[in-house]
Symmetry: C2
Subunit: 485 residues, 2 copies
């Protein structure tokens, strides 16, 4: 049994300052030892318990690392004997760079064999991430190829402000069909995300020191973006109906702009009722102020009809509408858009030129094709069914496996749910501590308290489910319950 020599001499060191969770560090170090031939195929690894003791992490952490290595074929488990380096590792894996890697440029030394960074994989319960396996990659690639073959040079060279014209038209058509409001292509501006939209809007609509209302809890990155740009951000506590205009007027009068999520509050998920929508529009009109309506995931509504958007209620005055492709398509697409009344849209296009905020052209014709040929709408319909089922499964599994720890209520839409700790758990640890524990076990559960500007009114977690297959939801809740007990 020489080939099963003990490899308990693994030198694994965790770097606490490294932003990567412990299990990823352990996974990556063992994988590199295997690929470098420092741990031979067939050799036995230390037990998860021994490795945990040696490196000073929890056993959940070492288990998560071994699970991942096993799932990828680097380790095999023999019942009663522990984990062994797989003997089926092909020689090519041990010598060559991973598949999909582009070869080094001629004339330079070959890059050392490196592993794909494991952190490019979404982690269980990461919110706002679409499903990876259900994404129609072939259809998307075809859209990319077809649209790129037809692309003319004028589109590659020249100003890119506003966005690629056919994409702006396709988005206007999509909004007509999905959200029931009419806008011209010239009112649509393609951006690289909500933060860039904020930078443009702040430049055109705000002067330094102007007050901006944001929801509390709310979107921290947008809050920070407004602050950095010189606005005074007033965070207004939401209630069961979302943003509360009365409270905003009482506590921070004279705002120039309100940033709200009426379709589904982010992150809590409630819908703003019609009366509040109309009041907000009235406020904007009478004050000459602006409401930014972030409609970030309204495509995913599973029950009932959505309320009319602020934009469609307001017509051509006082409202700017934000939407995103990255949540519906894939995370690294990094394409969003906004819709503004015509005069403001022209000013925003000019601001894009001023601050050099044009979006790369390369993905835009592909998206225009993907939308115009109906593939985008079909994808949303398919994902709606898939995500609705996953949400139900998550609610059921929390009730079955973690009923002593967490409360989870279903919601009408979205890509994540809010889990609230039961009193016994809340007494033992904060949501931040709980999420740290989960993180070391390879789970991303974002603490609710991080969404508050000041002290959190409520503790809880975001459990993203859209990108998580049902079996993984079950395993994740089991693992989470283990971390929290």
């Amino acid at each position: 049994m020489t080939e099963q020599a003990d490899a308990a001499t693994l030198t694994i060191a965790l770097d606490r300052a490294d932003p990567e969770p412990g299990y990823v560090q352990i996974y990556a170090q063992i994988r590199e030892l295997i690929l470098a031939g420092r741990v031979a195929p067939g050799s036995r690894l230390p037990s998860t318990r021994a490795l945990a003791a040696e490196t000073g992490v929890s056993r959940t952490t070492t288990l998560a690392a071994y699970d991942q290595l096993t799932a990828e074929g680097y380790l095999e488990n023999r019942v009663g004997a522990g984990a062994f380096v797989s003997r089926d590792l092909p020689d090519t894996v041990l010598a060559a760079p991973p598949a999909g890697r582009v070869p080094s440029p001629a004339g330079t030394s070959p890059a050392p064999a490196k592993v794909d960074p494991p952190w490019t994989r979404p982690r269980t319960f990461d919110p706002g991430i679409a499903d990876r396996d259900a994404f129609p990659l072939d259809e998307w690639t075809r859209s990319l190829l077809r649209s790129h073959r037809a692309l003319d040079r004028a589109t590659l060279f020249g100003r890119g402000t506003g966005g690629f014209e056919p994409l702006r038209e396709a988005i206007a058509g999509h909004l007509r069909a999905m959200r029931g409001f009419d806008c011209a292509a010239g009112q649509v501006i393609v951006t690289s995300g909500a933060q860039e939209a904020v930078a443009l809007l702040a430049r055109v609509l705000l002067r330094p020191g102007d007050t901006v209302w944001m929801e509390d809890p709310g979107y921290g990155a947008v809050r920070r973006a407004f602050s950095v740009l010189g606005a005074r951000v007033a965070c207004i506590p939401v209630d069961g109906e979302g943003f509360d205009l009365e409270q905003a007027l009482a506590s921070a009068p004279g705002a120039r702009l309100a940033f709200v999520t009426p379709s589904r509050h982010y992150p809590l998920g409630m819908t703003m009722p019609l009366a509040r929508r109309l009041a907000l529009i009235d406020w904007a009109r009478s004050e000459g102020a602006w409401v930014i309506e972030d409609d970030f995931d309204s495509e995913y509504r599973y029950r009932g009809r959505p309320l009319a958007s602020l934009m469609s209620l307001a017509g051509d005055r006082g409202v700017v509408y934000l939407g995103s492709f990255s949540k519906v398509m894939f995370q690294n697409l990094r394409l969003s858009w906004l819709v503004a009344p015509p005069a403001l849209a022209r000013d925003l296009v000019r601001a894009q030129a001023d601050i050099g905020a044009q979006v790369s052209i390369v993905a835009q014709p592909a998206l225009a094709d993907f939308i115009a040929t109906g593939r985008f709408a079909a994808h949303i319909r398919r994902m709606r069914r898939l995500y609705a089922a996953r949400q139900s499964h998550l609610v059921a599994e929390v009730a079955r496996l973690a009923d002593d720890l967490l409360d989870v209520a279903p919601q009408d839409g979205g890509m994540h749910l809010i889990a609230r700790p039961k009193p016994a758990l809340a007494r033992r640890m904060s949501d931040r501590e709980a999420s740290e524990r989960a993180r070391d076990a390879g789970l991303t559960i974002v603490p609710l308290s991080g969404f508050y500007a000041g002290e959190a009114a409520e503790q809880g977690f975001l459990l993203g489910y859209a990108g998580v297959p049902e079996a993984e939801i079950t395993a994740g809740i089991e693992r989470l319950a283990g971390c929290l007990r």
Copy 2:
């Protein structure tokens, strides 16, 4: 001759508040009248002189509009008779949306026939724009297709901070070959442009109120970006050797960061000599400060060897290096990169996640392929020959056609030259007035005074030549001389 009925009743109205130059407005309005069938094929247009009088613009402006319409086949000129709407306009042009346009989504009303916006075309002498016709579009499309077919889902989903790993490796290899310095892929961070790089660097390296040194004249968008982010920007007048450390220390001591263009000063074009480079590095090291080296177009050097970059002189301390693809490839690619010492690179990647500044994945694998297969280097070599010839042609044509108006000296590299007004012209108008006149005639000549933070020490224009064929350079200088006389 009924089909040649006079169309002198054209209703053309210029909007002075519109950012589009006059000739573009006239061009677009006539084109729309033709496409809408409001001016029949064969009908005669008013003379350029009459239209100029009627609309209150110069004749150069109406000539430029008619030239463009003629070049595109909408008008035909008959000697001695004036301009007529072309009788060869195919019916499809009159009814259908322009070619390359994506059809409207099913179920929505068809978009009205619209013209391609003429402002997507670069205008003569627009600086920093690569040649459109010489760009190897087929090779680029092949890189896009090949790399996208091999793309895995993990790359589309998951975190995109830092950039696509094979692209980071390809950039490191490119820098080794082209700029002679070694860096690891992990030190390379892909960004969407210099402004985003500035936002990341400011977040990691600066506290509000810290002093930043910039060159004067210099890059206004970067200056504004630092200011908006809370830095105190001190603009230091350059001399014949570029940024002057002694003067900076005397006038604004205690800076935390210096943003410089040592390879070729932007926009004046001088090279910083070695002694100044070393002094700047010494300053950064002894003060624990940082030098940002913007090497924005160092690929285009036509004579002599480039000096060693600050980054290669400084090693792992005190220097961050910025480069861009958009100038070498095409304007709307919107991809840049920075290289930082390893520890700083890790902090910048974290900052990218914090401010949501990841770059869209879609173009990155294609670029990695384009570089790794040697196509990028070959393209640069071809463009170097082309642009060097265009620079020589521009110098010769200014001497031949505008010797009474402008002085232009050749430079060792770059994509634009500086034209300085001769005293007789300088007495008659400012560089801004001159550029306004040129703009109405369809020429972009950016005034030098706009690059100064305060009062301009010098007047002049940037004449971009990289994207301008030699015949167009000749015609452009003729037209420019006409505007300025």
